[in-house]
């Protein structure tokens, strides 16, 4: 179910917004518009649907408009054109009172530079949102203490925030956001100011928290690894335009353009790509009971194979057969393959990542069978696909390498 919907959103900075917007609609380039009106286009025609309970990551380099887009969601910045629909109401047209209500009850934001109040204690900072709502002290302390416990800050209540390390300060920022019990968390480069170790730890904790809380989280980052680790879905932005939206696997396997492709080039794909992405769907199989040696040999010869998986009538994997056994069987004029079916060596699930498939490859010469939980046959991961995936080279390059090796 969609929680936030962003429709045709434009955000333009500068004095002559309307003029700039009209010129943009006429298809003028950004540099022309900057020259004529002095306006910069931060977000251009953004359309997004963010679902209830997901972590949605918006990723892009600095200046890509990702933080500006996020600020349109709680209207720290007013969009120039378009709608931001939250729970069915368009926040971009809300009046002051409605806006205040949405900021207090529906969403909370976590900032890169924390944005904590240096003149207040940790507890006062966390309860600050409730203080603004006029919640009395005992009640807001109770809620603040609860959210402190959630983020692992127990015992720090009376410290001044400036005494805390960066990681701890961001926990305060997160606890402050959670204290309002919002439906939506907006996180603007929330972990970018932390050092790598603390950052990884905070990411893990956020995921653990999210498993419990099931909030809708919109997370901004410039770091692809962070996006992949956290995001159920990722939107990639460039120069104010959303270039691609998809799961991390979709973005890695089918980058929408060269920009995204160059972005994902250096990612450790073996941790993200799963068996289903590199398997052959509908490969040839030997059907137990239905097919005898003659048919199966024919199938193998056609494709130049020496090995086939065997499935039963329910398409469940029961074993594998070798060409040499089949030839033997034919000689004996045997019509059933029962006797030569061998136990299959390895199977993986569709969502097994490549990193976990590679070790299997060293123990077998056969392709790797892909099945689901009920042993139903789903496909084959050929060894060649694994090689392509791991080396990042395509078939021709590999063939060339093999040729070279043989020439030696």
């Amino acid at each position: 179910m969609s929680k936030i919907e962003i429709k045709d959103l434009f955000l333009i900075f500068g004095a002559e917004k309307t003029k700039a917007f009209n010129q943009l609609q006429k298809g003028k380039s950004k540099s022309d518009i900057l020259k004529h009106t002095g306006c910069t286009i931060a977000v251009q025609n953004a359309n997004l649907t963010i679902n209830d309970g997901e972590i949605f990551v918006i990723m892009g380099l600095s200046g890509s408009g990702k933080s500006s887009l996020l600020r349109c969601i709680n209207r720290l910045v007013d969009p120039t054109h378009g709608e931001v629909v939250i729970n069915g109401t368009d926040i971009s047209k809300a009046n002051d009172k409605q806006l205040l209500e949405v900021r207090r009850k529906v969403m909370a934001m976590v900032f890169q530079n924390f944005g904590l109040l240096p003149h207040k204690t940790v507890l006062e900072n966390i309860g600050f949102g409730l203080e603004l709502q006029g919640v009395d002290k005992s009640q807001r302390d109770e809620k603040a203490l609860y959210s402190m416990e959630l983020v692992g800050l127990k015992g720090y209540e009376d410290q001044m925030v400036s005494e805390l390390s960066g990681g701890m300060q961001q926990r305060v920022g997160l606890a402050r956001a959670l204290a309002n019990d919002p439906e939506v968390l907006l996180m603007d480069e929330a972990f970018s100011a932390l050092d790598p170790l603390i950052r990884a730890q905070m990411q893990d904790e956020l995921l653990a928290l999210q498993a419990k809380m099931k909030k809708t989280i919109v997370f901004i980052t410039h770091d692809l690894d962070e996006a992949i680790k956290l995001g159920d879905r990722i939107a990639i932005m460039k120069d104010g335009v959303i270039v691609q939206v998809g799961t991390s696997e979709e973005i890695l396997t089918e980058p929408a353009d060269d920009y995204v492709a160059s972005f994902v080039e250096n990612v450790d794909r073996s941790k993200i790509i799963t068996a289903s992405s590199i398997s052959l769907k509908d490969p040839i199989v030997a059907r137990f009971k239905k097919e005898g040696p003659e048919v199966i040999i024919r199938k193998m010869r056609k494709r130049n194979l020496t090995l086939l998986p065997v499935v039963d009538e329910e398409n469940k994997l029961i074993g594998e057969v070798y060409l040499k056994d089949l030839l033997q069987l034919r000689k004996q004029n045997e019509k059933h393959i029962d006797s030569i079916i061998r136990q299959y060596s390895h199977t993986v699930h569709e969502d097994t990542i490549i990193e976990d498939i590679i070790p299997l490859m060293t123990k077998t010469n056969s392709p790797i069978w892909v099945v689901d939980e009920n042993k139903e046959f789903k496909g084959i991961v050929p060894l060649s696909s694994l090689v392509f995936e791991v080396t990042g080279k395509d078939k021709e390059e590999i063939d060339q390498l093999v040729q070279n090796a043989q020439d030696l």
Binding site: R71, N74, L76, L100, E101, V102, R103, R104, M107, A108, M109, F111, Q112, N113, F114, G115, L116, L117, P118, H119, F128, G129, E131, L132, Q133, M160, S162, E163, G173, R176, N180, L186
Partner: protein
């Protein structure tokens, strides 16, 4: 012969027009402010001098340390010994009331310049003007509006002493980090909550520095205002000048310096305490 450009003529016309048309307004102001100043002078003078010395010394000690506490006792005793106690209290009353009025107008103006770039641009040259115009010049319209006495003195003092607190209030609020303002707004703060719960508290050390400067400038102006019979220590200094009594002039001057140091250290102590708390 080239005729002299005569701006003064127009200013004169404007001031005269104001005097004629707003006479009742100035009268009301005169009565109100005059009553306030006289009341304060009465209170300060009714307290026995030794009680006052103890109170001021305690305050100085608490805010700025034992050294300033001791200095306050000795300095104020010297003033009393020179026979200037009453004049000093008159001056103090005038400084405090002028500062109070200057803050009453200056802090909101400062907030306004922080919020509105246009206000900032318009007010900046006006503040420059107020601060750099030779202080004596204000005495002339002050007399035209209010006659002689402490009220025109306070009027001239407010104009001369207000700029620092306006500037530093604006600066202090503008210096509050954007991320804190955004965070507060994102939590659903109204504009007044943002101002009173976040911006003013965080700007307080800077604002206190402005208040300190305003007090110091008030003190210097109050002495000059003796020329229009504002009374106090300035009168003693003025007598020293007009009657060529070197000794009397310096005695009055020393009393002013002592008062200035005490007021400065107390208000600076306030600002520093805030800073320390923030850093802690």
């Amino acid at each position: 012969m080239i005729e002299r450009i005569n701006i003064g003529k127009y200013i004169e016309v404007a001031i005269n027009w104001l005097t004629e048309n707003f006479a009742s307004f100035f009268d009301a102001l005169n009565t109100g402010v005059g009553g306030f100043i006289e009341g304060l002078q009465f209170v300060l003078n009714i307290v026995p001098f030794w009680v006052m010395i103890i109170l001021i010394a305690l305050l100085a000690w608490r805010k700025s340390g034992i050294g300033i506490g001791i200095f306050s006792v000795l300095g104020l005793l010297l003033i009393w010994g020179m026979g200037f106690w009453e004049a000093t209290m008159e001056t103090l009353a005038l400084v405090l009331s002028s500062t109070f009025i200057a803050l009453l107008i200056g802090i909101p103006l400062g907030v306004w310049t922080a919020y509105s770039d246009r206000a900032h641009t318009v007010l900046r040259p006006i503040l420059d003007f107020m601060q750099t115009m030779p202080a004596f010049v204000y005495l002339i319209p002050a007399v035209l509006f209010f006659g002689l006495g402490p009220v025109p003195g306070a009027f001239a003092t407010v104009i001369f002493a207000m700029p620092p607190v306006v500037r530093l209030t604006g600066l202090g609020i503008r210096q509050v980090p954007e991320s804190i303002v955004e965070a507060t707004t994102s939590l659903g703060a109204t504009r007044s909550q943002l101002l009173f719960k976040v911006q003013l508290p965080l700007a307080l050390p800077t604002i206190l520095t402005g208040i300190n400067q305003t007090i110091m400038m008030s003190l210097s102006m109050v002495v000059i205002a003796a020329m229009i019979a504002a009374g106090g220590l300035g009168e003693i200094v003025l007598k020293g000048i007009t009657q060529m009594k070197i000794g009397l002039g310096f005695e009055g001057g020393i009393a002013v310096v002592i008062l200035a140091i005490i007021l400065d250290r107390i208000t600076q102590g306030l600002a520093n305490n805030k800073n320390k708390k923030k850093k802690k």
